[in-house]
């Protein structure tokens, strides 16, 4: 492997890892703060990708269009969608056993997949990246790297930094951190924990949807894309330690690199590498690398 290939694979790993982080961060927040195992989280990623595909013509016809306008409309819809979902399906589940939540969110996966099939169909679709990001830049003499992938990494990085800022520097972040440590105490301090949960859930959904929309031009849009990403994100969440954003970031990048380089160096064992890594880490540290709280 020469230096340029190595560099390209590093960029790919970084981009994949950051994308995983976007989906996994919502998952780990919802689990860590609300105590809900949300199997349907991968579906939000799928919904995002399909939104990028099917919203673009609608947005184009109404407000002039453009990739970024579509992203914006999609995120607004996602926040409303997440807010509604929490109200309708999750708000009565907190007192129940975890496994009841698993059953509920499994039902939601089936419903989302079928609604997707009814509304958009089962075909695989491609999504065009916007024109200004459609080029490539030269790496070394022979290789090029698509600008859009760099843009994806940039978006993910910006969101990660934004989340870090919200968590550590704002009042909302303080309340969320407190809520994940001790629900009753936060409530008795006069904070509306139900509203807080709804906000966290809606934010988690919006980030997953955004991840799906941003990833659509690279990964294309296909049925079942949600469940693949869900399992990998659960791996990320437990490696990083449940509820830990820092852990999720570290674990996403780790998985990104192991998976990408695994496919290059050991193609026959690429699929299993991630799971071997998870098993080893959990046997060494049974609570993940960065346990929150």
């Amino acid at each position: 492997m020469d230096v340029t290939t190595f560099l390209i694979q590093c960029l790919n790993s970084l981009q994949y890892g950051l994308l995983l982080f976007l989906v996994a961060s919502g998952l780990t927040l919802i689990f860590g703060i609300m105590g809900v195992i949300n199997l349907a989280h991968g579906s939000f990623y799928m919904v995002g990708a399909y939104l990028a595909f099917s919203l673009a013509p609608v947005v184009g016809a109404t407000i002039g269009g453009g990739f970024f306008a579509t992203l914006l409309v999609g995120v607004v819809l996602a926040v409303l969608f997440g807010y509604f979902l929490e109200w309708a399906f999750f708000s009565f589940l907190y007192e129940r056993e975890h496994l009841q939540q698993v059953l509920m969110t499994y039902g939601l996966i089936l419903v989302f997949e079928e609604l997707r099939s009814l509304l958009v169909g089962d075909d695989v679709h491609g999504v065009q990246p916007p024109d200004i990001l459609n080029g490539s830049i030269a790496l070394g003499e022979m290789m090029t790297y698509p600008v859009y992938r760099l843009f994806m990494s940039g978006v993910c990085l910006a969101l990660a930094l934004g989340m870090y800022f919200v968590f550590t520097r704002t009042r909302l972040g303080m309340m969320i951190r407190a809520g994940s440590t001790n629900r009753e105490m936060v409530q008795s301090l006069g904070i509306d924990i139900k509203f807080l949960y709804r906000v966290v859930f809606a934010a988690g959904v919006a980030i997953a949807v955004l991840a799906g929309m941003v990833a659509a031009p690279v990964s294309s849009v296909y049925p079942g894309m949600g469940s693949t990403v869900l399992i990998i994100c659960f791996v990320v969440v437990v490696i990083g330690g449940i509820g830990s954003i820092r852990g999720a970031l570290f674990a996403s990048l780790l998985i990104g690199f192991v998976d990408t380089f695994g496919k290059v160096l050991l193609p026959s064992a690429a699929g299993v590498l991630v799971y071997v890594l998870m098993a080893l880490i959990l046997l060494w540290k049974p609570d993940g690398l960065f346990k929150a709280g």
């Binding site: 419903v111 098993a279 959990l282």
Partner: protein, 340 residues
């Protein structure tokens, strides 16, 4: 024995009698479907021992099913029918051995971490079958000659396979029911309710959990054996996480902590699938059968907090105008607290 115990025993007895009488009234299709459901019921019962009885949520149960199925096919002689008498024990032993290794490691973790470690080990088994030529890779392998015992048990005949599967289901159910009443079973229930307290009372809980894990793995291999014999074919998808997830859903849907919950769950899940897939009822819409199934599952979570087994209790509570069901379940939890 109080009333509710009698009614439960009567329910289970009637269910098995109905299954025994079923071939007399059913056609080929019904027989095939019922065999398939019973295989899944055995699989669900094996998981119920871990999830419902011991409180260990295993998300890698499909690996044991797959190892049972694969070893049945791989150990069968290619040119003649193998013998059930050694193929079945061999399959269960191999899966039990694998469960011993996986359990010994995964039981170091707890809660969601345990869920994910068991998933990780199952995925490793999946990729071994998927990416190595051992079991035919992604194509899977065929079982050319169905096993039997001499002339009097030929599993190639659908009716014989049905009866053999029913017998296996009955034996599994009875075994787990007896296990639940034994000292060992009480200890497992104690671990589910409060593991700390079990340790404080002098139980070393790890060996108990490991033993439950191994028994569960071996029972899953029984289901895997039947699966391979019934279908005559195995492929890596049998070990995929969808299968582990589905059996977990069946157990939760039926109602945790009750053996008949796994039974009811397996039948309810399969029959719901058949119902929503039926083109006679839904016509064109039948191909979107996941939607109906998903909505039913969501409704069941909202309306049936204790799963399908809790339904009679809920109805009784409604009729008496009291929270009778709640009270009796609370008393039960208290009872297992007090045991040992």
């Amino acid at each position: 024995m109080n009333d509710s115990k009698v009614s439960k025993a009567v329910f289970v007895a009637l269910a098995f009698l109905a299954l025994a009488a079923f071939p007399a009234v059913s056609g080929q299709y019904g027989l095939d479907l019922a065999t398939k459901i019973m295989v899944f019921a055995i699989f669900a019962l094996s998981l119920e021992l871990l999830v419902g009885t011991t409180g260990l949520v295993c998300f890698g149960q499909a690996a044991f099913l797959g190892i049972g199925a694969y070893s049945t096919v791989l150990l069968s002689p290619p040119d003649q029918a193998g013998s059930v008498l050694w193929l079945l024990p061999a399959a269960m032993l191999l899966a039990g051995g694998y469960a011993l290794a996986v359990g010994a490691l995964s039981l170091r973790t707890k809660g969601v971490y345990f869920i994910m470690v068991t998933l990780a080990f199952a995925q490793m088994a999946y990729y071994v079958a998927h990416d190595t030529p051992l079991g035919g890779g992604t194509d899977g392998i065929y079982l050319l000659m169905k096993p039997g015992v001499g002339d009097w048990l030929d599993l190639d005949k659908p009716l014989v396979l049905y009866q053999f599967t029913l017998a296996c289901l009955l034996v599994t159910f009875a075994f787990l029911a007896l296990l639940g009443r034994s000292r060992f079973g009480r200890a497992l229930a104690g671990i589910r309710v409060n593991e700390q307290r079990m340790r404080a009372t002098g139980f070393s809980t790890y060996p108990y959990k490991l033993a439950a894990f191994v028994i569960s793995g071996a029972l899953s291999a029984l289901a895997g054996f039947l699966f391979a014999v019934k279908g005559g074919y195995v492929n890596p998808e049998l070990m995929g996480w969808h299968v582990s997830g589905e059996v977990l859903i069946i157990v939760i849907l039926g109602g945790l902590g009750h053996l008949r919950g796994a039974l009811i769950g397996a039948f309810a899940f399969a029959l719901l699938q058949e119902f929503f897939k039926s083109e006679a009822i839904f016509g064109e819409f039948a191909k979107h059968w996941h939607l109906g199934l998903g909505l039913t599952i969501i409704a069941s979570v909202a309306l049936l907090p204790r799963g399908l087994v809790g339904v009679p209790g809920q109805i009784a509570a409604r009729l008496h105008g009291t929270a009778l069901g709640e009270a009796s379940s609370a008393a039960k939890a208290g009872g297992s607290h007090g045991g040992h």
